[in-house]
Symmetry: C2
Subunit: 177 residues, 2 copies
C-alpha cells in the first residue's frame, strides 16, 4: 500500500460450497485494508472472480490469485509469515516487531478456517491472536491490517476506478458507470 | 463493556440458508469486541444458538436475542443509532461524536446485508463508512467497535468461562472442560 514491501494474504482451508462468502469477504477486506494481493486455493475460483471484478470497478492494482499446493507455497515463501489464530500470542504485544520486519521483507499473512494443519504454526514467524475469543478470520484480518498500517489504510486512494462512492450523510451516491 | 451505556448490534437483512455464517460471524465479533448483545431477526435462530453456546463456554454476559419486527424495533429505540454502510461518512471524522454520545446514551449499531431499507438511513444519527470500498459488514463492525472502545476491547476479561485459551507461541492450549 505505502511503498514498503508487498503484503500478501493467504486464505487456507477453503471448503467449496460452504465457504464462498467468507472467503470472498477475506479477499475484499484484504483489498480494502491495503494488502497487495490475496492467494486462494484453486477451489475458490468464484471468490477470485468476485474480487477481481471489484478491483476492476473500484480501482487499484489488488488481485486475487490461485495456487494448487498450499504447503509448497508456504514452505518456499521468501519473507516473513504471520498466522492469525485465536490460539496465538496477542497482536498488541508483537505488532511492533511485525512492522519493523515489514520494513525489510515481504509479509505473508495466513488466515485459516476451522482446521489449520500444524505445519502452518511451525512455518509462521508469529502466530498472532486478535483476542483469544472465537470470532471471525475476517475481523481478525481487518484489525491486523489496521494495526500494521496504523489506520492510514482508511484513507487510501484508488487508481483507475470506474465507480466511486461519494460519502453521504444519508442515502447513496455513486459516481461513474 | 466498560460501565458506560449499553452497546447493542442489530443485524438486518438476514437471508436464511444463505447468510447463516456471515450472521454468526457478526454476532461473534459483537461479543469478542465488547458489545453487550446482538439482535437478530427471528429467521436467524441457528446463528443465535451458536452465539449463546460460545458465550456459555467462553464466558461473559453477551447474548443473542431475536425480534420479529425490525422496523418497530428501530423506530422505538431509545438512544443513539449508528448505521454502518459503505455509502456513509468516514468513521474517522465522526467517531469522537459517537464516543461522546455514548457517555450519556445507549448505542444501537445497525449492520446490513446487500439491500438496506431507506428508513434505516433516516433513523440513524450517523451513517458511517469504514472506507467507501466494498468489503464486509463483519470487518466494518470490528473496526467500528475497536474505534469506539479505543483498543481496550482486546484486553477484556471473561467471567464464568468454562474454556479459556492460553496464548501460545506455536500450537494450541485450551484450559477447562
Amino acid at each position: 500500500m505505502d511503498g514498503k514491501h508487498e503484503v500478501s494474504i493467504l486464505r487456507i482451508g477453503h471448503r467449496p460450497g460452504r465457504d464462498e462468502r467468507i472467503t470472498t469477504h477475506v479477499g475484499l477486506v484484504a483489498r480494502a485494508f491495503g494488502a497487495d494481493r490475496v492467494i486462494f486455493p484453486d477451489a475458490a475460483s468464484s471468490s477470485s472472480s468476485t474480487i477481481n471484478e471489484v478491483s476492476l470497478n473500484f480501482g487499484g492494482s489488488f488481485r486475487a490469485e490461485s495456487i494448487t499446493n498450499v504447503s509448497k507455497f508456504v514452505k518456499s515463501w521468501n519473507g516473513s509469515i504471520v498466522h492469525l489464530t485465536m490460539y496465538g500470542q496477542p497482536i498488541e504485544s508483537l505488532i511492533d516487531d511485525v512492522i519493523i520486519s515489514h520494513h525489510s521483507d515481504p509479509l505473508l499473512i495466513i488466515v485459516g478456517a476451522e482446521k489449520v494443519p500444524f505445519f502452518i504454526y511451525e512455518a509462521a514467524d508469529w502466530n498472532l491472536s486478535v483476542t483469544n475469543q472465537p470470532h471471525s478470520e475476517i475481523a481478525a484480518l481487518a484489525i491486523f491490517l489496521d494495526r500494521l498500517f496504523q489506520g492510514t489504510e482508511l484513507n487510501q486512494s484508488w487508481d483507475d476506478a470506474k465507480q466511486k462512492i461519494i460519502p453521504q450523510k444519508s442515502g447513496k451516491l455513486v459516481e461513474g458507470n
